[in-house]
Amino acid sequence: MLSLVSRVKKQPYRLKLSYEDLMRHRTIHRAWMLLQRKNREERHKELMAQYQRIKMACDQLEKASPELFARAMDKPRSLRFPLEYKYPTETPPRVAWDYDWKKSTTVQALSKKK
């Protein structure tokens, strides 16, 4: 059992930092916070720029062709992401990229054939 022994016996000593150690720790923490902030702002800026491009494209489409614009603004056909949309991992899979994928071998294509 994990709790066979009391918590007090398993805990290490409380960490007591000297003044210099404390200053070091704080500097490290502040540097990390600064880096996170910088990354966050960079991502925000990128999203803003992408949004401006989308807005420009939609405005121009509305002016150029109202029918195309209306069809583009419709609700999407399906709100489902494909299964293969994976989150990046620290190391790649054994087969990094499947070059031999063929549409004719998918479930949809095979079921249509029948």
Partner: protein
């Protein structure tokens, strides 16, 4: 008129956003002023201009591997893990190696024995330091083929692939931590490197046209997912020697590829294609095109 800060949405409360809003308002004001001042001649000239509507695709391969950590990030992660080890509870060996078992004997034999006289030592652990745990090696005597296979150490694949070493830009294996974009070189209209595009046929929507663009240029053996039916980018080009059109207006849609590969089709007039990262695109593409597409692409 400036809205009360608390009423404005969160994304507009930062300074650079307000700068963009102010700049765009100023731009609007000048354009409306100039529009009112235009003469009849220029208005009629603008109406005469005809532009071909085209649909294009920004096809990207999402990153397969997490971004490479910087030196500072690595050092910080190491610092945090050392702190965590220093503050961790003593390893509960009685849970993993039952008391009186052979496994427990093996475990105890391998541990560095600390003197119990030291007041800082409890349960064979120095309480003012991180605990170094030594695990006993697996016994080879009762190893079978199956158990060897099950308990074999997992060897992760390298983050850099063969395509990286050869720097083959037609391969999708390359630069696994970055997003790769498809750029294409065609004969005639698209003699510079560009994202693939084609004129929209009658009765087609933007998305249908974009899917057709991919099929005609790259074949059907690509597992592609269109992110949205709304355009992500607008590009206007002017023709110098064309009778019917003054230029073209291209609306690009974004999509992702997960499997398969781009195979240039016979009737597509493609002379060359490449899968490149955002910075690499700059060296392929014309300067004007780059300034227009750069904000629509992602950093990683």
């Amino acid at each position: 008129m400036v809205l009360n800060k608390s009423l404005r949405p969160l994304w507009s409360q930062s300074k650079h956003v307000t700068d963009i809003i102010v700049a765009s308002r100023r731009a609007l004001a000048t354009t409306t002023a100039s529009a009112e001042a235009t003469t009849e001649e220029s208005v009629s000239a603008k109406e005469e201009q005809k532009f071909k509507l085209m649909a294009g695709v920004i096809l990207s391969r999402p990153p397969i591997v997490t971004p490479e950590p910087t030196a500072f990030e690595k050092a910080y992660h190491h610092y945090q893990s050392e702190l965590y080890k220093r503050l961790s509870w003593t390893f509960p060996h009685w849970f993993y190696f039952p008391k009186g078992s052979l496994a427990e004997n093996e475990y105890k034999r391998v541990q560095p024995q600390l003197t119990e006289d030291d007041p800082n030592v409890l349960l064979n652990r120095k309480r003012d330091e991180k605990q170094e745990i030594v695990f006993p090696p697996r016994s080879v005597q009762r190893e079978t083929e199956e158990s060897a296979r099950i308990y074999a150490k997992i060897v992760p694949q390298p983050r850099k692939t063969e395509a990286d070493e050869k720097n083959d830009i037609t391969k999708l294996d390359r630069k696994l931590d970055r997003t790769l974009y498809l750029i294409v070189k065609k004969e005639g209209e698209f003699s510079d490197w560009q994202f693939p595009a084609a004129p929209i046929r009658k009765g087609e929507s933007l998305e249908v046209a974009s899917e057709r663009v991919l099929l005609e240029n790259g074949g059907e053996d690509m597992n592609v997912f269109f992110v949205s039916e709304t355009p992500a980018l607008y590009y206007k080009k002017f023709y110098k020697e064309d009778e019917t059109y003054n230029g073209a207006k291209i609306f690009y849609l974004k999509s992702r590829i997960f499997n398969g590969m781009f195979k240039p089709q016979r009737g597509s007039q493609i002379t060359d294609y490449a899968w490149v990262t955002k910075e690499e695109i700059e060296s392929f593409v014309s300067p004007r095109y780059w300034t227009i597409i750069a904000p629509a692409l992602s950093l990683h």
